[in-house]
Symmetry: C2
């Protein structure tokens, strides 16, 4: 299948992640782009540079303020009191404090949610490019029935107005809105990243036309902590159109694949015109920040189960961090998906 | 006047503050206790150890979950993956993510709001003690017309369910509830700390019986960024009972004292039975993290203006960081207040 991608992904290569008060190397490295592209290409899939579809498809998901903030943030770095290659804060908008301030210092903590999304010189180009990859992937999926969008940085923790969890723009949500616009039909998103797709849930929580399903490690004591529970099912018109399937930590292929099959049943019931898979690979048993024990064979079985839905599908890369099995897990997934779809 | 205090304040001496991605020494040091106590005692005021009034007066302001979290946090440190003298996180509950999780990792980011409130071995004793100082100060003010509550850690950035901005329990709010309970009348809080008293505002935002007034540096590009604007006036039954008076950065005595006088007029109109002054001293021209240029003479004039309200008043210590003039500013304030009251 086609691999949509952009080398602009390399322009955001975060160094630091302030984790529990300690500065640690950032796991969401630019090198993931090379590793994932190499794995997909070596497996026989065909790289194609993403087109430029402009800001409108991004603005179909994100607030104008969120987009404008990241477009201009680095050019405003003189307003930041500390000289550094990375801008990030420890003060954030809160449930009781959600007013959008005018000053740059407060805007950083309004449009970022935690200490994991440093803003660098190339961040805008990388996140804009990553969103374009998702859009191009959606278009390719409608032409070719399936496509792999190698999005980096990832997206599923980003809300309409805030970054977080290594994510800035919600690529899967952007792809879903694109598929909706092009097909005129309903859409579903299946998120198999090991972390709950909280931003995606938030964006579509009141929307009955975009079914959101997320399979992830139980968030009781795991990122993102504050969302991802089974009783979050949507609200207003969207009630019943969000499905969270949290899994006990340490579970492996059997439960994971069975849960994917259950999710696919729910997706079929929704009768979507197209599907977005938020393709995290960090459910892997070897992922450095994972919580489950999925093997390469498990990812192959997962891909088959999803492909059997028979829907035009864009596979949008989410998490999945550097380990020896990351290339094999991606290749296994893509091959199996391609064989069925 | 009496100085209510407790040496338990010394048991929370934070080392680190993760500020804009950099680890810097924490400005809210335990040594402030010695400096403030020494300044007040040298000015002829009389130290008295705070009594122990138990948890009920704290629970009149804070949620049971908030109190229980801090009471047990250090004993749960084995649930924290990193060994350190200080527990703090970079992941927080957010406007879209406000569910209280069961696990310890998420609870830390639910009950703290930023990277400035590390939890240490002695934190509970210090914040419990600081709250007791406020309660004892409120009681003393009803007996003697005025009292100085040397609270440390400070409190005015703490909400009912979250710490933040160096604050854990909202001592001024606890004192206000105590005064209400003891007098059966209305109460006012005047916050002259250079930072907006956001937690205090949040706690009483719907309460018409506790008037909250805060004079502070304009939060447009200054902590706490997301609150402290003039158009925040209360809501529901509390509409009209919150007054924010943000000041342009760099202003000095003239505007500051005039603003205090304006605030005192509003407080008189409220006809409270008693007054809480959230006595930050960081509007000082020499404060290391301040934004205004108030001199010692300005604090003297401020104290006189507040004392002229003629109300039983507890002065609750908030911010004000180590500088050569901190002792003189406190002594000047207390002397002037005592002379008029």
């Amino acid at each position: 299948m086609l691999i949509l991608h952009t080398p602009d992904s390399l322009l955001h290569d975060p160094e630091k992640y302030v984790r529990r008060g300690e500065t640690v190397p950032h796991p969401e490295q630019a090198r993931r782009y090379h590793v994932l592209l190499g794995a997909a290409r070596d497996a026989g899939h065909v790289p194609e540079l993403a087109g430029d579809h402009g800001l409108d498809p991004i603005l179909a998901v994100h607030t104008p303020g969120h987009v404008e903030f990241f477009r201009t943030a680095w050019s405003r770095r003189d307003e930041w009191p500390t000289r550094s290659d990375e801008i990030f804060t420890g003060h954030f908008a809160r449930p009781h404090m959600h007013r959008r301030p005018e000053g740059f210092l407060g805007l950083v903590g309004y449009h970022t949610a935690d200490t994991s999304t440093p803003i660098r010189a190339g961040t805008w180009q990388a996140i804009y490019g990553s969103a374009q990859v998702a859009i191009s992937g959606a278009d390719a999926a409608l032409r070719d029935r399936r496509a792999y969008a190698l999005c980096r940085p990832p997206g599923h923790h980003a809300y309409a107005d805030s970054a977080g969890g290594f994510c800035f723009f919600n690529n899967a949500a952007i792809a879903a809105r694109r598929l909706q616009a092009k097909t005129g039909g309903k859409v579903a998103i299946l998120d198999i990243d090991v972390h709950h797709g909280n931003g995606t849930q938030g964006i579509f929580y009141q929307d009955p036309d975009v079914l959101t399903v997320s399979i992830h490690g139980d968030p009781t004591n795991y990122f993102p902590y504050y969302t991802g529970y089974a009783d979050e099912t949507g609200e207003g018109a969207g009630a019943g159109f969000n499905l969270n399937l949290p899994l006990q930590h340490g579970l492996g292929d059997g439960t994971f694949v069975a849960t994917v099959k259950h999710a696919v049943e729910r997706i079929r019931d929704h009768r979507p015109a197209a599907l977005v898979v938020a393709l995290g690979l960090d459910a892997s048993e070897h992922d450095p920040i994972g919580a489950l024990r999925v093997t390469t064979a498990g990812f192959v079985a997962t891909a088959r189960a999803i492909a059997k839905a028979g829907l035009p599908t864009v596979l949008v890369q989410e998490g999945g961090y550097l380990s020896e099995v990351l290339p094999a897990n991606l290749a296994g997934f893509l091959d199996a998906f391609d064989a069925v779809a």
